[in-house]
């Protein structure tokens, strides 16, 4: 096809785990190449492993591809193959166009040279001519927004300034294909927003984007297609929502993390005790990561050490900053709970739709009686969960907006 920018056909790439072996294999392969003997790259030798295994995909002009997966899955290796830094050991990589790579930007900066001098060096490495840089240098400096530091050696730069300058040079090199690898994680939020805005502007000019990130919201928001990698293999490929939710469900086991923390100066009588808590999905399966808008159940077991009349069961959900996002209890729902005998164990369920924005949340359940005057038990932050939403949202609540736009006032 005319407009295919990147094409991977059954691409595999192997690496060596052992430094000595790497030296030995290096000499051997080079010697073979010199004498024109094929080095049989498709065979795995001792201490070698496939960092990428039979990966195939295609990226068309103006399209965006996200690559997600756990650390060491081979995401960066894909980018390096596209950039031409690495060559495949099996299969074929076709790249059509100038690649602008934001893989660890600022590589090639010399610490003793000023920002301005480094723009010329880095620009030349990225394939810009001096004329081109002369023309663009003001835009580059303006976008980097590092003020007078542009004339100081880059070794005096903060990490953020370093990245800003590097990013600015890379995006001004007018690539046809932009490779972005987690670099947006550095720098403050304002700069991140600026970067995303700039990348989106570039996308309008019909460039192609490959984005590698652990920020699933960013991937979901920017990419039209997502690849999930694990141990060098493509596990799933498709629409961002599908792949991301598949990834999340496969991650759930790893997120289990119960946090206990103190709960201030309220006197706890321990007349009743919260035994344990779980988050269950609709199918009754225990989960730790929740898709925004999903209906889930907080499930607590409460053991009564004394007999109590009309206890009140409640929960508070806090975000990572400790701000209360939501709170509810049985009393506010006008539920008369009745009398619980000493030794009885009750199961309390809170069923609700989690229309939250993405982030980490903590659940603190409590049991009280006498209209909340006597606190039997209060387990602060006993449960932790993560909410993932495919769209970017800010604030506290997810109001599940639909946006309609009617042109010409119709």
């Amino acid at each position: 096809m005319e407009d295919t920018m990147i094409k991977f056909v059954d691409v595999s790439k192997k690496f060596v785990k052992n430094l000595r072996k790497s030296m030995y294999y290096g000499v051997k392969d080079v010697a073979k190449n010199i004498f024109g003997i094929p080095a049989r790259t498709e065979i795995l030798r001792n201490d070698e492993f496939w960092a990428l295994d039979d990966v195939s995909f295609e990226l068309k002009k103006g399209k965006t591809l996200g690559v997600i997966g756990p650390n060491g899955a081979g995401k960066t290796t894909i980018l390096k193959l596209i950039a031409g830094i690495l060559y495949p050991d099996k299969g074929k990589v076709e790249v059509d166009g100038k690649v602008g790579s934001l893989i660890e930007i600022g590589a090639g900066f010399h610490p003793n040279l000023t920002g301005r001098e480094n723009i010329y060096v880095n620009g030349a490495i990225l394939g810009m001519s001096k004329k081109e840089i002369d023309r663009k240098i003001n835009d580059i400096i303006e976008f980097a927004d590092i003020g007078d530091f542009i004339n100081s050696p880059v070794k005096y730069y903060s990490a953020g300034m370093y990245v800003r300058l590097g990013f600015s040079i890379a995006v001004h090199s007018d690539p046809d294909i932009l490779l972005v690898d987690e670099v947006l994680a550095v720098g403050d939020e304002e700069f991140q927003r600026k970067c995303v805005k700039k990348i989106k502007e570039m996308l309008k000019k019909n460039i192609s984007l490959v984005l590698v990130s652990h920020n699933l919201t960013l991937v979901g928001g920017m990419c039209e297609e997502v690849i999930l990698l694990s141990n060098g293999k493509v596990i799933k490929k498709g629409k961002p929502e599908e792949v991301i939710s598949y990834y999340i469900s496969s991650l759930e086991k790893e997120t289990k993390n119960i946090v206990y923390a103190s709960h201030g100066s309220i006197k706890i009588t321990k007349d009743a005790e919260i035994m344990d808590g779980k988050i269950l999905n609709k199918e009754g399966k225990e989960i730790y990561t929740i898709n925004a808008g999903e209906e889930i159940t907080f499930n607590f077991k409460v053991k009564f050490n004394e007999s109590i009349e009309n206890p009140i069961f409640g929960i508070i959900i806090k975000n990572e900053n400790g701000e209360i996002v939501y709170g509810i209890n049985s009393n506010w729902k006008y539920i008369k709970t009745g009398i619980f005998e000493k030794g009885e164990v009750a199961k309390v369920e809170f069923v609700q739709r989690m229309t939250l924005i993405d982030g980490i949340y903590y659940v603190s359940p409590a049991v009280s009686h006498h209209d909340g005057l006597i606190m039997c038990d209060w387990k602060e932050n006993i449960l932790k969960f993560k909410v993932i939403s495919p769209v970017k949202l800010i604030g506290f609540a997810n109001l599940c907006s639909e946006i309609h736009i009617h042109r010409n006032g119709k």
Partner: protein, 289 residues
């Protein structure tokens, strides 16, 4: 610009990477590609040269005077050893300091060039694993430093010529052309040694040892020897490559043109052969560096 022109550019940019793709390509096609790559990378080579140049002298008080300090010390110690009779250098047609400094200046194109090129890939390690660019540019820009140093040392040389009232032959104008084989030999060896250095860091040490050893077994600081040393110098291709340009400046003729021509041809062959190997191995550098 016409649409056809634009299409051509796009066609040029298309890259297909397959395992050992370069090995499978034809011999001549490879050489054409190699030349094209260097020409395309000329601006990068200049930038890298400027970068390293600025970086080298920015945080230094003496700056480029360091370039001439080393030859001055070496020559003085030889003069001292000669005068005190520890070392008998024999007769030279011009005052010894002129003879020795001229030889050393030429030799240092080779020695500083070899050390710089050998380390060039390893020093750029972080850049190589993150960015794709023609790695030949690193070797060539390193060699350019050696040539720059040479030019600075020529000024020292001119001062020494004036001081000893030695008038160089008018044929000295071909001097710059006569050192080309030595430059090519250095780049050629630099290609291979820089690759070796990526695999084993022993190369750095071996090369600095080699260059100081070669200085003693090559007639640089002494005229053509007799006896046991002669066997060493006979098969040493660096020796005619240094002697011929020196003779042109001092005497106006080359005493053994046949040796010089053979050495030059060998140098050109080594250069092309090593360049080709470098080009074949280039895609693997990022994995091993």
């Amino acid at each position: 610009m016409t649409i056809i022109g634009l299409k051509n550019i796009i066609k040029l940019m298309k890259k297909v990477l397959i395992p050992e793709g370069l090995v499978k390509k034809g011999f001549l096609k490879n050489f054409k590609e190699m030349f094209d790559e260097i020409i395309q990378a000329r601006e990068l080579i200049i930038r890298l040269f400027i970068r390293d140049f600025l970086a080298r002298y920015k945080q230094s008080f003496l700056g480029i005077t360091w370039i001439i300090i080393m030859p001055i010390i070496v020559i003085n110690s030889f003069i001292f050893m000669n005068k005190s009779g520890i070392l008998n250098i024999g007769n030279t047609s011009v005052p010894y300091p002129v003879f020795a400094l001229l030889g050393l200046t030429i030799y240092q194109i080779f020695s500083t060039g070899l050390v710089a090129t050998t380390n060039s890939l390893v020093n750029a390690g972080s850049m190589i694993i993150k960015i794709n660019f023609p790695k030949e540019s690193l070797i060539i820009s390193s060699m350019a430093h050696s040539i720059f140093d040479f030019i600075i040392r020529v000024f020292l040389l001119i001062l020494v010529f004036i001081f000893f009232k030695v008038v160089p032959s008018y044929k000295s104008i071909i001097f710059p052309f006569l050192i080309i084989p030595l430059v090519l030999l250095t780049i050629g060896l630099g290609f291979i040694l820089s690759l070796l250095n990526c695999i084993a860091r022993d190369t750095t040490n071996a090369v600095s040892l080699l260059t100081s050893f070669l200085l003693f077994i090559t007639p640089v600081l002494y005229p053509e020897p007799k006896g046991i040393l002669k066997i060493f110098t006979k098969y040493n291709i660096i020796s005619p490559l240094i002697n011929a340009p020196r003779e042109i400046v001092i005497n106006g003729y080359i005493s053994k043109p046949d040796e010089y021509i053979i050495a030059s041809l060998i140098s050109i062959f080594i250069f092309l052969f090593c360049w080709r190997i470098f080009h074949l191995v280039e895609p693997k550098i990022a994995e091993r560096v």
